[in-house]
Amino acid sequence: MTSLSDSRLTHTWADLRRAGRAGLVPYLTAGFPTIADSRDALRVAASHADVLEVGVPFSDPLADGPTIQASTFKALENGMTLPGTLELIADAAVDTPVVLFSYLNPVMQYGVERLMRDAAELGIAGILLTDLPAGADQTIEEPIQSSSLDLIRLLAPTSDSERIARTVAGAQGFLYLVARLGVTGASAELATGLADQIASVRAATELPLAVGFGISTPEQVRAVAALADGVVVGSALVDVLGRDGVAAADAFLRGLRDALEPVA
């Protein structure tokens, strides 16, 4: 298992802590809206991001809301695959640490150990598997945990103290806190109870906490940044990218990133 001190993500979070601000963690679906624009969008996003999540498209995205579902189906139409996602990441050649965000089946079919080797060669920092909760399958979790990639874990509002303890035990890099019940997607208001949820996770681990699901505006980013170490923005970004293109995504992310500057 990767120790806390030597992973690439650990250094990123330590740097952020020293800088006194929360990290921006944008999510993009690989291969959306086109393969070329997707590569450009990754570069633009990396210029604002502290950690970059790259989604591997899957035919049955059951944890995702309409925006990311639609981006996924478009990416699949464009011929995007898991090997294609790796190529895209290699092609984009960004310096920001990249976390692969995937459903389990494409990873299983590629081969977990093979993916760990290939992703490590590309310098990919971590992997998050939406449908692999802690303890679900040791034969998959163990090879990831013992690889150079961090195994990023999700925690939900329904995770009780027992689940939190079990999840943080094998978690690496940072924890992704799902801020509300439901699927991914922008929402007008932040979930109530987020502060309590964060407090109960903090009591169980020293790992940095990134919060996602439903965050779409600079105001929401600022509010979450006051509580968490990182702020994930997915659907809202994918929406802007799909509707208005790469330049608009650039401007959108700049606005979010500005919201994270420490108040002088």
């Binding site: 059951l62 189906f73 898991l82 090997p83 449908d131 939900a156 329904t158 995770s159 009780d160 699927v183």
Partner: protein
């Protein structure tokens, strides 16, 4: 306990390597709660007493065992029909929805969601929700909404909200995705009544137990009728709940051949079929590891079958295990043969079978020559075909 449930074949939620719980973290707590409730209920005589009472008074069980003399002549073997088509709502699905609705009531959950393909599970869920006064939301692929208009109207009559699902392939697989999305969003108040032996643990073993009444009754009825066990037991397999419930009664009878019949659609080599166990390979979909129709990249392949209830690219994990161990033999029958069997069987026996069931009938119809004079085959007549009449007429022409 009033009834003898099948011996548990799952170990820690798995059948060999299959099954498990591959779900978003949000659902883990609900599945833990459901599994621990079910583990306590499994030995709770009062629960099964209430369940049996409802099966008798609401469903009309035990369902009959019927000889099929004219079809037997065609098949070249004595065929006995287990008449799940005679159940209230017209199929085996209600055996499961009653059990799960009782569990929902114990959990204090007043909102029920379900996915449905052919609409039989949706109707069975809506029926028990009406009876128990529970809110009911059914997700159904937009394509199936068109194919199964009669069942859509039945669900609405019963007070359910039917939500057509337009994403992905617009069939059962996508309806299941949408039901899971609803469940992730509303899990504190909502129970998801999965309609087959699929999904994350504990669903596959729970649904098998609720359907095992089919095998239990059949075994007793056949023994009483014949004085011995059947040579073979045949059932159709989509997700596989009628087959699993039926097979559960005979798994330990090593001399009884078990045959599951999948949908070969336009043919297993055409890419347009639902023959998961015949042509798929292991993968993860809808919370469980099992055989799966998929491409080289692990994208789930669209399934096809003339029968909406078999039009699913996955299959229950226990079937995957029974395939690998060789205890059950899985065969595939194409659309054309199923449609022909639908017509032939109706004329020979005066029973209109569901198109799903017609696949098992077609396999049996083509099996003559492999039987001996004293053999007898038990066929699970999983549902009635009234729901399919308009669809079949549109394919074959109104002159039948």
């Amino acid at each position: 306990m009033t009834i003898a449930l099948p011996a548990e074949t799952a170990v820690a939620g798995r059948f060999g390597p299959y099954g498990g719980r591959y779900v978003p973290e949000t659902l883990v707590a609900a599945l833990d709660d459901l599994a621990s409730l079910y583990d306590s209920v499994r030995n709770d005589a009062s629960f099964w007493g209430e369940y049996e009472c409802l099966l008798r008074d609401v469903v009309g069980r035990p369902s009959r065992l019927t000889e099929a003399p004219r079809f037997s002549e065609l098949a070249g073997v004595r065929v006995l029909l287990k008449r799940e088509d005679l159940n209230h709502t017209g199929a085996h699905k209600i055996n499961n929805t009653i059990g799960q609705a009782l569990l929902a009531r114990r959990m204090g959950k007043r909102r029920i969601i379900a996915e449905t393909g052919a609409g039989q599970h949706g109707v069975a869920t809506a029926t028990i929700c009406a009876r128990f006064g529970l809110e009911c939301v059914v997700y159904m692929g937009a394509e199936d909404v068109e194919r199964q208009a009669l069942n859509v109207y039945r669900m609405k009559l019963l007070g359910a909200t039917v939500i057509p699902v337009t994403s992905g392939t617009r069939t059962l697989k996508d309806a299941t995705n949408e039901a899971l999305r609803d469940w992730v969003t509303n899990v504190p108040t909502t129970h998801y009544i999965i309609g087959s032996v699929v999904g994350p643990d504990p669903f596959p073993r729970m649904v098998r137990d609720f359907q095992s009444v089919i095998g239990r009754e059949s075994r007793e009825q056949v023994l009483e009728r014949l004085g011995h066990l059947p040579t073979a037991v045949v059932a159709c397999v989509g997700g596989g709940s009628n087959a699993m419930g039926m097979f559960a009664g005979f798994l330990e009878d090593a001399d009884v051949a078990l045959v599951g019949v999948e949908a070969a659609g336009e043919g297993v080599t055409t890419g347009h079929h639902s023959a998961t166990l015949t042509a798929g390979r292991p993968g993860v979909l809808h919370g469980a590891m099992s055989y799966l129709l998929q491409d080289a990249d692990g994208q789930v392949a669209p399934a096809h079958s003339v029968s909406a209830g078999l039009d699913y690219p996955g299959v229950g994990p226990e079937h995957s295990w029974l395939r690998d161990t060789g205890r059950v033999r899985y065969e595939a029958v194409d659309d054309k043969a199923a449609l022909a069997a639908f017509q032939t069987f109706t004329r020979l026996e005066g029973i209109i079978p569901a198109l799903e069931t017609a696949h098992a009938i077609a396999w049996l119809a083509a099996s003559s020559g492999q039987w001996q004079a004293t053999d007898a085959v038990l066929l699970c007549l999983s549902g009635r075909g009234d729901k399919d009449v308009a669809h079949v007429a549109s394919i074959l022409g109104a002159d039948a």
